[in-house]
């Protein structure tokens, strides 16, 4: 049977991808950010899964305009890196695990999540930056990736509670897949940031650190943070943190925290990162 063995959360700031692609990771500005990922880059060498279910939001690259699904699963055989206005990131093509993606999609609908399937799309920094942060710059990504897209931009976004339930449903779906697969779930985005207006540059370190404090062992109360509270406290884009809840719920009751990291700033954003191993 397939099992969810670990979870990773990380911010997915586009400038981090640019720093990697342009060889700036040792620069004074960037070195302290990348230092926070030294652990996971070592850890993943002995914990490379068969499949990563990667929860992210599209940033007006494939979605948000003609079609705005609340929850969607990438169902193409493979995904190219999107040209977000400065050319495609030079990263390997992302390859799907179609049979597991199909199984999860079916199970989610049966579990009352009316998920959208996307048969063609490019994937933007939201998906490729986490892969680069964890796997570095390989010729090929070392595992299959199932993209799960969450609308966190157009209001109303799904609630934190709804995201939690989606994570639980993903967990049930993976556990009922007959093939023996090692699966990780990654939640990306956040932490606090706002990208426009007189509040641009908002960072709420107190909120962010509390979120990380509670996520591993007391995540229950994070479920009930409202959209309005995310907006007020973490900025318009801080609400991406609801995608961390999907990851956490997918891991089940007990986790062992292997790493936590928090750093301000990367461009406009507070960078947060955790690595959990599942206990059950």
């Amino acid at each position: 049977m397939a099992r969810i063995t670990a979870g990773i959360a990380t911010s997915h700031v586009p400038a981090i991808g640019a720093a990697i692609d342009l060889g700036k990771t040792k620069d004074l500005y960037w070195a302290p950010v990348f230092q926070g990922y030294e652990f996971v880059k070592e850890w993943i060498k002995t914990h490379t899964p068969d499949v990563v279910i990667l929860v992210y939001n599209d940033h007006a690259s494939a979605l948000m305009l003609d079609i705005v699904p609340t929850f969607a699963i990438g169902f193409a055989d493979e995904f190219q890196s999107a040209d977000e206005g400065w050319g495609r990131r030079p990263v390997p093509v992302v390859k799907n695990h179609i049979d597991l993606a199909a199984h999860i999609s079916e199970q989610l609908v049966i579990d009352e999540f009316d998920i959208t399937l996307i048969n063609e799309m490019d994937v933007d920094h939201g998906l490729t930056v986490p892969l680069s942060l964890v796997f570095g710059q390989p010729e090929e990504w070392p595992c299959k990736v199932i993209p799960v897209c969450v609308n966190v931009s157009q209001f109303p976004t799904p609630s934190g509670e709804r995201c939690w339930k989606l994570g639980e449903a993903i967990r049930d779906a993976v556990k009922s897949y007959p093939e023996d697969l090692d699966v990780q779930v990654w939640g990306t985005g956040g932490m606090s940031h706002q990208l426009h207006g007189s509040r641009a540059g908002l960072i709420n370190e107190e909120f962010d650190r509390r979120f990380i404090d509670l996520l591993a062992h007391e995540p229950e109360e994070l479920k009930y943070i409202t959209r309005l509270e995310y907006l007020r406290e973490t900025g318009t884009e801080g609400i991406e943190l609801i995608m961390w809840l999907i990851m956490r719920a997918a891991l089940g009751y007990g986790v062992e925290e292997k790493k936590r990291f928090y750093r301000v700033p990367a461009s406009n954003t507070a960078v947060g990162h955790v690595v959990y191993e599942a206990k059950s």
């Binding site: 586009p14 400038a15 940033h59 007006a60 690259s61 948000m64 305009l65 705005v68 999107a82 040209d83 977000e84 206005g85 400065w86 050319g87 931009s153 157009q154 209001f155 606090s192 706002q194 990208l195 426009h196 207006g197 007189s198 509040r199 641009a200 540059g201 908002l202 960072i203 709420n204 370190e205 909120f207 409202t226 959209r227 309005l228 907006l231 007020r232 406290e233 318009t236 301000v264 700033p265 461009s267 406009n268 507070a270």
Partner: protein, 134 residues
């Protein structure tokens, strides 16, 4: 039973200097955003740069939205429904970083903004609610 909500939806408009991106705003900016997403192709970026006005005229944007693009007035474009994730593609076409684009909407210079971020960003103290500040 009337439906209970955790807060009135109007409260989303109660955050200082913040336009929450809603379906209505998305619709208002649909053609502006169609233009922004067209800049995801190199050939289109070149065509836009060669003659901005002519390129914009291929889209069903309002005149105000076109002028906002020509003026690179991101705040104006946000007022007209625009969302930063789309508008950043315009900034990228101009070779500007996301941080420069964001700082341009904040009323601060790029240098002041970058310095504020290095010092830990903007505190949420006192800018959580328009009502509370009255």
């Amino acid at each position: 039973m009337p439906r209970q909500r955790l807060y009135p939806l109007e409260d989303l408009e109660d955050i200082p200097g913040t336009k929450v991106f809603t379906a209505r705003r998305s619709r208002e900016a649909y053609h502006l955003h169609k233009f922004c997403m067209s800049l995801m192709k190199e050939a289109n970026r070149e065509e836009f740069k060669a003659d901005e006005r002519a390129y914009l005229d291929k889209f069903q944007m309002t005149e105000a939205q076109k002028q906002g693009v020509l003026d690179r007035d991101l705040n104006k474009l946000i007022e007209l429904g625009g969302n930063m994730y789309f508008l950043v593609k315009l900034a990228s076409t101009d070779g500007l970083s996301a941080q420069k684009a964001v700082s341009a909407t904040s009323g601060m210079s790029a240098e002041e903004y970058a310095q504020m971020m290095l010092e830990g960003g903007r505190s949420p103290e006192g800018i959580r609610s328009i009502r509370a500040n009255k």
